[in-house]
């Protein structure tokens, strides 16, 4: 499905190129390791996942025992049980992508355009963006959990300012989950945008002002369109993993039962209930929905060649 959706772009190139046979064989040999890798580590698990999603419980079987079947009801059952988790997953992921973009764009712009004169500052800031990766993702999220705990200065201050009701919490809320997702994915948003902005020819901006465009207009008509590939890949790199995330939203980290996303439902079915068909069906649906959303988004933004 994935290949079909995005297959139209490379199709155009085949007409132009009439490579001799020998070269195509070399190409094939060079491609072989990659193809084998994909077949082994992408296609096999995918097929296994889809097959598992149709399995039925063994009659009088023990916990976690399933047999091959074609039980399509699995899908209806999980959609009925977990549609709110899907909505929450996409809602939170969308919000996190939006906030990450709002935060990352100015940051990337500063590093990539404004800081060009000071390469040292540029390097330092880039290091700072990447620095969080030196610490485990789980630890960082746990650190935020302690920072947002009930007895911390932050929460006490928010309560004193009546921003938070006296019996309110920061952790376990939609706010903390979206915050966590945004925080964790900011580098994935910043870096692609930075790479496009870093190549931005500032003479275009001068030309813009020569043509009587104000700074806002220049940004809107020149800078933004030129950085669009960065924005698209940044939003994809944020949205796709955020929609499937189950760490930030889990009750052990920043979430609670009220914030559980579809990733948590998959985890609970897989590890807690050993209900592999339900977990697989949820994964297949999640994958399908993300593919559709991404496909539409990429078509809309006119950046198919990114893929």
């Amino acid at each position: 499905m994935a290949f079909a959706a995005f297959g139209s772009a490379p199709a155009g190139t085949s007409g132009v190129e009439q490579a001799p046979r020998r070269r195509s064989r070399v190409a094939l040999i060079l491609l072989a390791p990659g193809l084998a890798y994909l077949a082994l580590f992408f296609l096999t698990p995918l097929v296994s996942l889809v097959l598992t999603s149709f399995q039925a419980p063994v009659e009088f079987g023990d916990v976690g025992q399933y047999q091959p079947a074609f039980k399509i009801e699995n899908y209806a059952v999980v959609v009925e049980a977990y549609w709110p988790h899907f909505l929450r997953a996409f809602g939170y992921a969308l919000a996190a992508t939006f906030f990450a973009l709002i935060i990352s764009y100015p940051l990337a712009y500063f590093i990539g355009v404004k800081a060009r004169r000071w390469p040292l500052l540029q390097a330092l800031m880039l290091t700072l963006v990447i620095a969080p990766f030196f610490i485990s993702f789980l630890l960082r999220t746990l650190a935020w959990k302690s920072l947002m705990s009930d007895d911390t200065p932050l929460v006490i201050a928010l309560k004193a300012l009546s921003i938070l009701p006296p019996d309110g919490h920061l952790t376990g809320t939609a706010f903390s989950v979206i915050f966590g997702l945004t925080y964790n994915f900011i580098p994935f948003m910043t870096l692609p945008i930075y790479t496009t902005l870093e190549r931005l020819d500032t003479r275009y901006l001068e030309a813009g002002s020569d043509l009587y465009a104000g700074p806002a207009t220049t940004f809107w008509r020149v800078t933004l369109p030129l950085s669009l590939p960065g924005i698209v890949s940044g939003t994809l790199l944020t949205f796709i993993p955020a929609a499937g995330d189950y760490i930030n939203a889990s009750a052990s980290f920043l979430g609670s039962a009220q914030t559980s996303m579809v990733g948590n439902a998959i985890e609970a079915n897989f590890l807690g209930l050993l209900n592999y068909p339900a977990a697989s069906a949820l994964s297949v649906i999640l994958m399908g929905l993300i593919l559709i959303i991404v496909g539409v988004y990429v078509k809309r933004s006119g950046t198919e060649d990114l893929l």
């Binding site: 025992q65 047999q67 705990s149 009930d150 919490h169 376990g172 039962a257 590890l271 807690g272 050993l274």
Partner: protein, 404 residues
């Protein structure tokens, strides 16, 4: 042959439990036959229809051991060392890697079950899981037979723990600790204390309550609170649903902060939680960390649960003899008493109380470590569940845990 023992009351309780559990045993065994093949299929195991075989033992040449266990479950000094383990290494020359990586029975099982089914190494040569889960591992043939000759101290095992329905004679498992699930509170935030599970639902505790992700403990306490005898077999889905309703109501209203594994300790430490359903010994560990009696544990008036965690050696472990040497060491009454003095759980080792009376007089009368008859009469063992009930109860519990 057996002399009268200080642990007598527990033993009686466990014997009663073993008798009650016999009913479900046959049912469970029935499933196991079909189980082996289906499990292999489910895991996409290559030609794995035969049960896993024990790995070749390399203990004699390889003096190492990896042991996975729950948090706050072994004596620990201020530097993060484990004194009894260090002495074990001195005595036997076996280097032990002690991993604190079990937080929840289901999650741990879910993580290693494919290796178990294939008889491969799971990353731990021995681990301690709760008895109902150990019963499953034995049923599926995932654990090795223990060689009693390597564990002479097995004679110190409390006699009534010797013949559970899932492993008569303890040929494949050996208890590590037993303990209670009950209620606990932060004495600063809840100076009045708590008496029953219902007290957890007081409005002033809103959003400050954690409950355990161990279904049998949380639901056991709720069921007991509703007057159900959880050890008996005269209850089923109706009673369970009524208790689930209480849980769901309090999760939905935000009264319950979370349904958690051992990580609830962090919430107690950070002040996110000030009360909850917890495991007895954890509270001692939390108090140690706080530096004073910050938290208090009690069995609720309607009763708490009594559970046991048990050593097993998975088929894939090539260091069974080292594991047996370790078990033997921890069945020395002196060592068991030292561990008990730190973890504050109920030790299965006969003679530990006498040692404790001499060396650690402050714990010898502690009802959470060496409970007397009166305490034990208020602690109940969750009955063995048929596979069907197990799945249905668990599904309901997970549903509430995930919210709507």
């Amino acid at each position: 042959m057996t002399r009268p023992l200080p642990q007598d009351p527990i033993i009686r309780q466990l014997v009663l439990q073993a008798k009650r559990a016999q009913l479900s045993r046959r049912h469970l065994l029935q499933g196991a036959g079909i189980g082996a093949t289906a499990m292999a299929l489910a895991a996409c195991a290559p030609s794995g229809s035969s049960a896993p075989k024990p790995a070749d033992d390399i203990s004699d040449s390889d003096k190492t051991l990896t042991w996975s266990n729950w948090p706050a479950y072994i004596d620990e000094d201020d530097d993060g060392n484990y004194p009894t383990l260090m002495r074990f290494t001195e005595q036997t020359g076996i280097e032990v890697e002690y991993k604190v990586d079990i937080d929840d029975n289901n999650t741990y099982y879910g993580t290693i079950k494919d290796q178990l089914a294939l008889g491969q190494a799971t990353g731990a040569d021995t681990f301690c899981l709760t008895e109902w889960m150990v019963a499953r591992l034995i049923r599926f043939g995932y654990v090795q037979d223990l060689d009693a000759a390597n564990i002479p101290n097995k004679a110190n095992l409390a006699p009534a723990l010797l013949n559970p329905d899932f492993d008569p004679g303890r040929t494949k498992s050996l208890p590590w600790q037993n303990g209670f699930a009950g209620i606990a509170w932060d004495t600063e935030a809840v100076p009045g204390g708590l008496e029953s599970v219902d007290d957890l639902w007081k409005p002033e505790l809103k959003g400050k309550v954690t409950v355990l992700s161990e279904m049998r403990d949380t639901m056991g306490l709720l069921l007991l609170g509703q007057g159900v005898d959880i050890s008996g077999s005269e209850w089923g889905m109706d009673e369970y649903s009524a208790a689930i309703e209480v849980l769901e109501e309090n999760v939905t209203s935000g009264q319950i902060l979370g349904i958690k594994g051992n990580e609830y300790l962090e919430d107690f430490a950070s002040g996110n939680a000030v009360a909850g359903i917890v495991w007895s010994g954890d509270i001692t560990a939390a108090n140690l960390e706080a530096g004073f009696e910050k938290f208090k544990f009690a069995l609720p008036s309607a009763g708490g649960t009594l559970w046991g965690d048990t050593f097993v050696v998975p088929m894939g472990s090539p260091r069974k003899k080292n594991a047996e040497t370790l078990m033997n060491y921890y069945y020395e009454p002196e060592v068991a008493a030292e561990v008990a003095a730190w973890v504050n759980y109920i030790t299965p080792v006969v003679g530990a109380q006498e040692v404790a009376a001499e060396l650690y007089p402050e714990i010898a009368e502690d009802q959470l470590i060496f409970p007397n008859e009166e305490t034990l009469s208020n602690a109940h063992i969750f009955r063995s569940l048929s596979s069907e009930d197990d799945q249905a109860f668990n599904a309901e519990f997970q549903r509430v845990k995930l919210g709507a």
